[in-house]
């Protein structure tokens, strides 16, 4: 079940809100939310809900064992290994099987064939990382092991953040798990945030994504300059509004139930360097890698060479976390390389250069990396890059640029670019500089305008969700 599905928005969510907030007293809400979270996971992943339970119970027990053990490092190692074993098996088994197949190591081996077909449970990367961060934090003594298994189970499986993050640290929500108050202001701000995220997802990400997906299905040798650029540029916007939309929805849903999650995005597309970008993009993931991999490897405290090496280790891992494919590894390597280059002096040069030069540098290389990230296989990526360079060889008229263009796409892209910039902050900053009377006059419209804005979002979002479920046939479909 995804948050933008009608069954979630108009069935699961109202039911969950009604029962958990309307009928359950605050002490029982955690149990209610846990039941709903497990139903949510069962809905999409069926029997794999057992894996989720085993995974979270394992880390719950190991965290307690850590405190009692005389060799906590060994116990921690065991806990992390168990978590990673599950992740590697479910997420990377197929990838490794492919790799072995490429190396011609028993390509027809039956075991490899089976490994290629292993189903990856949804959200496994997120809950595995949450489990690991919890174990490490307990080991470091930063948090006490959670005593109540139901609360811990809720921390891991809480449905708003279960399938698409953000990666929540236990220390950030420990006190909220124990007790929290759902105020009207918090609940309604959650509703607004959820609606914003939903609108980002269904109005911008999905509409742009339709064109990007169509372009991704063009035979690679038939890509032209336009479709070549449409893939990474469209995907950049789709990815941001999809992912940040999910994060907004997760944060909003969390607020509805009294949780306050940390922000996961901070206008990443205003970045002028990759270092800046990774401070703004998927913050919970980059800080996770920083705290649990980069720092333990020595971070930047062991000299520049070690720092560069660490970056070269971290970013392929980040790429691999995003997807089990060579494209993701290369994406990570590219980002690692850019980061190293910036540390070698490029960043200082960019700071001195005019601002557009920084944006141009970032966007050009970012789109190149996305062309690799989003495509299916490295050869596909090669053709996209070739088309972006104007060397495409499209001959099939069915793949001509005009067929992947519409006035609506222009509107979505313009809106997406506008909303990926901190316009609200910009406007507020400039309004604050106005004299008191005109400023007060303009701000007097703020509340009605906000209501009108969210009313419009609700209307358009409901239309998009319904339109996506509308599936008419030319002939009667039996």
């Amino acid at each position: 079940m995804i948050f933008s599905a009608p069954v979630f928005v108009w069935f699961f969510l109202p039911l969950c809100l009604l029962l958990c907030l309307g009928f359950l007293s605050p002490p029982r809400r955690n149990a209610g939310l846990l039941v709903f979270s497990l139903i949510f996971y069962f809905w999409g992943e069926k029997v794999f809900v057992l894996y989720l339970l085993v995974s979270l119970m394992t880390s719950y027990l190991i965290a307690h064992a850590l405190r009692r053990s005389s060799r906590p490092a060994w116990v921690l190692g065991l806990g992390i290994s168990l978590q990673l074993a599950g992740l590697v098996y479910f997420k990377y088994a197929g990838f490794f099987a492919e790799a072995l197949g490429m190396l011609q190591l028993q390509p027809d081996n039956e075991v490899l064939q089976r490994l290629r077909q292993v189903h990856m449970p949804l959200g496994i990367s997120f809950f595995t990382f949450q489990n690991i961060s919890y174990l490490v934090d307990v080991h470091r003594g930063e948090v006490e092991p959670e005593k109540n298994p139901l609360d811990y189970a809720l921390y891991i499986s809480f449905f708003p953040q279960l399938i698409a993050g953000p990666i929540i640290r236990y220390r950030d929500v420990a006190s909220q798990l124990a007790s929290r108050i759902v105020t009207a202001d918090l609940f309604l701000s959650g509703c607004r945030r959820f609606l914003t995220g939903l609108a980002k997802k269904v109005i911008l990400a999905d509409n742009i994504g339709e064109y990007v997906n169509a372009a991704l299905h063009i035979p690679p040798q038939e890509l032209n300059l336009y479709t070549g650029w449409l893939i990474p540029a469209g995907y950049a916007l789709q990815l941001y509004f999809d992912f940040s939309g999910y994060s907004d929805m997760a944060i909003g849903l969390g607020r509805m139930f009294g949780f306050r999650f940390l922000e996961n995005f901070n206008f990443p597309y205003v970045a002028r360097s990759f270092r800046d970008y990774w401070r703004r993009w998927h913050i919970s993931l980059s800080t996770w890698f920083r705290d649990y991999v980069y720092y333990p490897l020595g971070g930047n405290r062991k000299g520049p060479l070690r720092t560069y090496l660490n970056l070269w280790i971290i970013f392929p891992l980040v790429g691999l976390w995003h997807g089990a494919s060579w494209n993701c590894v290369v994406f990570g390597l590219l980002h690692g390389t850019f980061m190293v280059a910036e540390r070698l002096g490029l960043e200082r040069w960019l700071e001195r250069a005019p601002r557009p030069a920084g944006h141009l540098y970032f966007w050009l290389l970012y789109l190149v990396s996305l062309a690799v990230f989003t495509t299916d296989g490295l050869s596909h990526a090669f053709f996209v890059l070739k088309a972006m360079a104007g060397l495409g060889t499209q001959t099939d008229p069915y793949q001509s640029a005009a067929l992947y263009f519409s006035p609506a796409l222009v509107l979505w892209i313009v809106l997406a670019i506008l909303f990926s910039l901190p316009i609200k902050n910009f406007l507020l900053l400039h309004l604050q500089r106005l004299p008191h009377r005109p400023r007060a006059w303009i701000f007097s419209f703020q509340r009605p305008a906000r209501l009108g804005w969210y009313g419009l979002l609700a209307w358009l979002t409901a239309g998009e969700i319904s339109g996506s479920a509308y599936n008419a046939f030319i002939y009667f479909k039996f």
């Binding site: 339709e210 609700a458 509308y470 008419a472 002939y475």
Partner: protein, 586 residues
Amino acid sequence: MDRGRRFIHMCLLSGLAAGLTYYILNGSDIFIKKPRLLLLAQGPSGQVPELFVDDGRGYFSPELKAVGTTADLVSQGYVLELPDVPLALRLRLDLGQEAAAWHIRGLVWSGPQYERTWTADTLFPRLQPLRDIEHLKLKNDSILVTTSGEDPALEILLPDLPGFWHFIRTPSAWNPPALLAALWVGLVTALWVHFFFEKIWFQNENLVWALLFAAFLGLPWCVMWGEPKLELTPAVRRENRRLAPLPRWEWDSLFTLPDRWTAYFEDHFGLKSFLAGWDARYKYSLLKSSPKPFEVAIGRGGWLFSRDTSLMRDFLHHEKMPASVMRRIRDNLEFLQLWLSRRGIRFFVFIAHNKHSIYPQYLPAALQHQGRPSIYEQWKQYMIDSSFVLPIDAGDELRQAAQHAEVFYPFDTHWNFHGGLLATRKLLFYLRRDFPQIPELHDSLFRWVPLDEKNADLARKIALQDVLHNREHQPSFRHNPSHPLPPPDFPHVPLLQPTLCYSVDNPALPRLLMYRDSFTNLMIPYLSACFSRSVFLWTHAIDPLSILQEKPDVVVLEIAEQHIRNLASIKTSVFQKYDAQPTQNH
């Protein structure tokens, strides 16, 4: 909030409410001031013409309010009241059914937003003879029209309608009752807004937000279980498919329950068709884009075209039909021809052209073919060169007719009834060589009846069937000789739609068995009138049992251009059970 700002809020919202009220009332039939057309035309012995309006989406017959004397202009006129604010571009007058002299004195077009009068001399340059008009000349204060044939008609081309500012400058065109009502609503809104801000909003702002979100999350749920009648059109009709049933609770199928419930909910949630329709409407009207750009393309003049990949690729003439497939189809058809002729049955293959082939000029600019032969053209040439079975099509006739009339629906994949009639005539032309007793379908047999149907398949595909209708003047028999019969049962034939059966009380006519697809729907009214018994099976799976059961004189296989590859999969082996003779080799 000070008084000034509150006043601005009130003005804005009450103005909006008043404008909206005027717009709704003005377009509705609550008040009298509807668009009105007064045509002053007089035929022999007070006869009045039949009038049709084309609002840019095809001719339709407006609601007839009255016919009689008008005091406004001269003597007798023809008064027509239209049901909606029209964007009329053309009017068509059908002037009786026999030779006569008609006088047209003028036209008054008055509506809530405009009022314009054309006298005879200003109207004259706008007249365009369509058919059976002998003379057309200006005489004194009227236009004299002399008709000659059985179905005379002429067209009046009107200029673009005046816009908003014309309406503002023409108080006589205003709609006073709607205006009064709008002012009243505006006043009430102002009072309500005042009350809302003072008593509700600022004292309880959270309540307003809560109501907004409760409506967003709860309305579809409430409509689904509370008042499903609020849905304007049942989804089964709109989406043209069987909807998922309410899942039953069974322990055995627990793991499939979420998927079954999801399917059920997504098919049945409240306000689905309403919301999807509005979503499609704003994308189509405001953004000028197809709501499903990779399924349906919007062409020039608003025409819709399927973006079915194989169809498009074929149209763009990038495909080549493999020789093995062409050979296979040829062998299958020749086998059928021989098998049927041994039983004294004539066999014809009739190909229905795609809309893309007949109206390439309406396709989006990006979709222009490369001049290479299409799949059908390749195959047709192959059959001409190497086979004794020759496929029939009405391509030339349709293209020729398309120059001055619509032969396909703009918002549908199919030809219209006019196109269906042309196709039928072409098919009958060939049939008549073997069965000369089949009657000819002359124009005189038909009267042109307006059709306005909310079932255009491409419009339905993008949830716009309420906006984009199939409109045309359907050639309808003045005296239809055929009547429907209970259809025969063919349990062994897989059918997409029920079988149709008709008969004509003339045993001299042959019997027809037709295997067909949806294009035949628009031919059936005409074909059924030409056979003593005609049976239409919606399948291309020709089978010997149905033929032996029905004992026809003619078997016709109608197939749309994009599906001819399917002819390669006809199972001739089932025929061989009924025939010891082997297939002829080539």
